[in-house]
């Protein structure tokens, strides 16, 4: 599903002017779309409804861009984008989650504590999905650009927790190279994530 369609893009181009900001928007939709979708699905929404939540969030965010543009002191577009999207998503998901209310005969007082609990659950879901998307996406991108042996040194030792000497032998490189390779991969992943989030 492409959420960054030509129309949105055109209007954003007019508004944002700076091509870096456009890139930021593209990165943002790429990362956020699946995150929202999955977080919504986890809450039990069906796929089409989850699609809808995605639309709502993206629309809400794109509408809010004016607010950002009109600010006296602007923070970077990226951090602003990710922050507001997070809030909008949680807000929307929470509203969806708290819609069904009591059964007949249960009185009319409403348990705010329950909402709070649900909210924190939703936030946890969302946070998990967000981190997941961010890091797996970054890892995939880094892997594309890295030499396979460099990637393997990282994957086998850091993720699969295999011993350094064993991996060095397997890859046919010296142990120091394994240390270095995995740190290089890690650094690139971290930097990519930072770049996306604008922090």
């Amino acid at each position: 599903m492409s959420t960054s369609n030509p129309d949105t893009r055109a209007s954003l181009l007019v508004k944002l002017r700076d091509s870096k900001d456009i890139d930021a928007w593209e990165d943002f939709t790429k990362i956020y779309t699946p995150v929202i979708h999955r977080a919504a699905s986890k809450m039990g929404l069906q796929s089409a409804d989850a699609d809808n939540v995605v639309q709502e969030v993206l629309l809400a965010v794109s509408k809010s861009i004016d607010q950002w543009l009109n600010r006296q002191e602007r923070i970077g577009f990226r951090p602003w984008l990710f922050r507001i999207a997070r809030n909008k998503t949680l807000d929307l998901l929470t509203r969806k989650a708290t819609r069904p209310f009591k059964k007949p005969g249960e009185g009319s007082s409403f348990e705010w504590s329950q909402v709070a609990q649900q909210e924190s659950e939703i936030a946890t879901h969302f946070e998990f999905e967000y981190q997941w998307e961010l890091f797996t996406r970054a890892a995939a991108e880094v892997r594309e650009s890295a030499a396979e042996s460099t990637w393997q040194a990282f994957w086998l030792t850091a993720v699969e927790q295999q011993p350094i000497d064993f991996v060095a032998q397997k890859l046919g490189v010296r142990e120091g190279m394994v240390y270095l390779s995995r740190c290089r991969i890690m650094e690139r992943i971290r930097k990519l994530v930072q770049q996306w989030e604008g922090t």
């Binding site: 599903m1 492409s2 369609n5 129309d7 949105t8 779309t33 699946p34 999955r38 699905s41 986890k42 809450m43 039990g44 929404l45 069906q46 796929s47 089409a48 409804d49 989850a50 699609d51 809808n52 639309q55 993206l58 629309l59 809400a60 607010q67 807000d91 929307l92 929470t94 509203r95 969806k96 708290t98 819609r99 209310f101 009591k102 007949p104 249960e106 009319s108 409403f110 981190q131 997941w132 998307e133 890091f135 797996t136 996406r137 890892a139 995939a140 994957w155 850091a158 993720v159 142990e175 120091g176 190279m177 240390y179 270095l180 740190c183 290089r184 890690m186 650094e187 992943i189 971290r190």
Partner: protein, 645 residues
């Protein structure tokens, strides 16, 4: 220049990391690194904080399966490849080498004889328990799911739950192995065929057979329900008929969930064939045993007619029909089925769960008596409940259940009202203007004009908006003097418009305690124009409330039992989102996009906007997303209706 290994140079580690050192220099650094745990740690710190390492590695370890395929997150649901077509040779790869040349392979202590089939979550083999010396059926969790912790848990839970049900009409579970690489469960092997296979081969069954099989399904379900277990996937393919003896076995509690353990099944996973689903299940709501009763009704229907009750080109179409239309009369398809039996099926297939039978046990008992009646008509009379003519009974039911609806004279709308309640979340614009303008569209339940007001998957009861656009012509509404309401509501509205007091007012106005609601400020904090009121009430009450609110001229109502109270100016300037199901027109997304483009040209682009990629592919077909004013939506609906005609 070679650096001594003991010589730490922390400041040069960053050069090493970015690769600005010469070969000789980095070679020396690497030698040092190999012997210096301190520098190893420093280098790691340079690359990322310790917690980042943990986070990345945990996430990547968890995403192992996706990662190894080399593609990450192109499709949002992480396991899409479950539709893989399993064959014997392919499934063999899951097994250990056979101990015997005639066997396919081994898993655990079981010899696998042959591949039987593949279902939503797993692959079924016929095997042999070498220790207990008996044939068994073994269901192995699909490898694409075995990597997924949730699916593993679900699988283990399925097995545990189903193993707890011991009943002559439920396939017995002998053993569960959930620790291995591929979890599997071992079941009783039933020699025979599925009801589906029998229907495919023989078409409609005889009444006696229908009653016998139906009774057994109901009895098996009753046993499961007694354990708090809902089958969720009752269909002919999950009913096994044992060869030789006249016994039906309910199998594959594949999606069964214990009612109090809903968390794991909330992953948006939609089970395979929707043809036997209940309306509440089709809407993705939480289901109870009543849902199984609906499915059982559908199975009875299929046994009577040889075909499932709801059929359409797409799964989506099926879901929509389940929610909004009645199946074709059984007797039209098979005149041999007696009227009283049709009544049982009708009642089981009532759209509202509470209108069905009280329990699976009640159904089993009823079918038992019916069977006795059919076998010995002179000795056993038909149960009295089945002797009333059906139309009268239905009418009586409606009257009993919804006297209010009758009272306010919405009789003509009763059918619509029933189709409409209960509803699901979805976004629908209903504008006060619409009430005056549009006459109810004359259309069949499949026509696209109906989708004008309702999105599809989420909101399959497509007639909903029709009720919206019917102007009230009856006598004045009871107990609601309009000026009073206006004054009262205005007063409270402005004084305390986010608090509980509005609900009290509404309750007073509607004069009823059977409405529950809560009021929350609208989620968008920047938007003071809105407050969201969530209400739960009957369709007729909603109609009245709508009327009240309309008279206030400041409301904008969203369906689904929730209202958004919005200033009327705001509502008029605020375009609403619609999803139009295009799957009736085409299942091809390119065509759908072309259609969307045509629509944009017909309607002036500055008056509306399409967004979300214009067309997205929903679960079952292309969906057009349109944000536009109410007027535009009507134009679009008309256009789409034209196209369908």
């Amino acid at each position: 220049m070679i650096q001594p290994a003991s010589n730490c140079q922390p400041e040069r580690l960053s050069d090493l990391l970015v690769g600005t050192l010469s070969d000789i220099e980095s070679d020396a650094m690497l030698s040092h690194l190999e012997s210096c745990p301190q520098c190893q740690g420093r280098l790691e710190q340079l690359a990322a904080q310790g917690e980042d390492w943990d986070r990345v590695c945990n996430i990547l370890a968890g995403s192992n399966s996706a990662q190894s395929r080399g593609t990450v997150t192109e499709d949002f649901p992480r396991q899409r490849d479950r539709s893989l077509n399993w064959t014997e040779s392919l499934s063999k790869k899951l097994l250990q080498a056979p101990s015997h040349p005639e066997m396919l392979g081994r898993i655990g202590r079981y010899d696998i004889e042959r591949f039987v089939g593949a279902g939503g979550m797993g692959i079924v083999f016929k095997g042999f328990d070498t220790e207990l010396n008996r044939p068994v059926a073994i269901k192995v969790l699909s490898p694409s799911l075995a990597f997924n912790g949730t699916a593993r848990q679900r699988f283990a839970r399925e097995a545990r739950a189903a193993a707890a049900v011991v009943h002559e009409h439920v396939v017995a579970i002998h053993n569960v192995e959930s620790n291995g690489e591929l979890p599997f469960l071992v079941m009783h092997f039933a020699q025979g065929e599925s009801l589906q296979a029998k229907l495919d081969r023989e078409g409609p069954l005889e009444l006696k057979q229908i009653l016998r099989i139906g009774k057994q399904i109901a009895a098996g379900l009753a046993a499961a329900h007694a354990q708090g277990l809902v089958h969720r996937d009752v269909k002919p393919a999950n009913v096994l008929l044992e060869e030789g003896i006249d016994r039906a076995l309910l199998t594959d509690f594949g999606l069964a969930q214990t009612a109090d353990d809903a968390s794991l099944t909330c992953s948006g996973y939609l089970p395979g064939t929707p043809q036997y689903m209940s309306p509440e299940q089709a809407r993705g709501e939480k289901v109870s045993g009543q849902s199984d009763l609906f499915s059982t009704g559908s199975v009875l229907y299929a046994m009577c007619t040889g075909r499932p009750p709801f059929r359409a080109e797409t799964s989506l179409g099926v879901l929509q029909k389940i929610n909004s239309s009645e199946p074709k009369d059984i007797r039209e398809l098979n005149p041999d089925v007696p009227q009283w039996f049709c009544r049982i099926v009708e009642r089981l297939m009532a759209k509202r769960p509470e209108q069905r039978y009280g329990s699976a046990q009640e159904l089993a008992d009823l079918l038992e008596v019916c069977l006795a009646h059919v076998q010995q008509p002179l000795h056993v009379p038909l149960p009295t409940s089945l002797r009333v003519p059906s139309s009268l009974a239905m009418f009586g039911n409606k009257l009993r259940r919804n006297p209010f609806q009758m009272m306010v004279g919405v009789v003509l709308l009763a059918v619509v009202g029933f189709a409409l309640w209960p509803r699901v979340q979805g976004i629908e614009p209903i504008n006060s203007q619409a009430a005056k303008v549009a006459p109810p569209p004359e259309s069949s339940s499949e026509s696209l004009s109906n989708t004008s007001g309702s999105s599809v998957l989420a909101n399959p009861s497509s007639q909903a908006p029709i009720q919206e656009i019917v102007e009230w012509k009856g006598p004045p509404l009871p107990r609601v003097p309009q000026d009073d309401i206006r004054a009262k509501l205005e007063e409270k509205y402005s004084v305390d418009w986010q608090g509980q007091s509005l609900s009290t007012v509404l309750q007073e106005l509607l004069g009823s305690a059977d409405i529950q609601f809560d009021i929350r400020p609208h989620g968008d904090a920047t938007d003071d124009n809105k407050t969201t009121v969530t209400l739960k009430m009957t369709a007729s009450r909603r109609a009245i409330l709508r009327r009240i609110l309309r008279s206030l001229n400041r409301t904008y109502i969203v369906q689904e039992g929730s209202l958004e109270l919005v200033d009327v100016d705001y509502a008029q300037s605020h375009p609403t989102l619609h999803r139009y199901d295009l799957s009736y027109l085409t299942s091809n997304s390119n065509e759908a996009i072309a259609l969307a483009n045509t629509l944009t040209q017909v309607i002036a682009p500055d008056q509306w906007s399409l967004y979300g990629g214009k067309c997205s592919l929903g679960l079952f077909g292309p969906i057009l997303h349109v944000r536009a004013t109410e007027e535009m939506h009507q134009q679009i609906a008309q256009l789409l209706t034209k196209i369908t005609k």
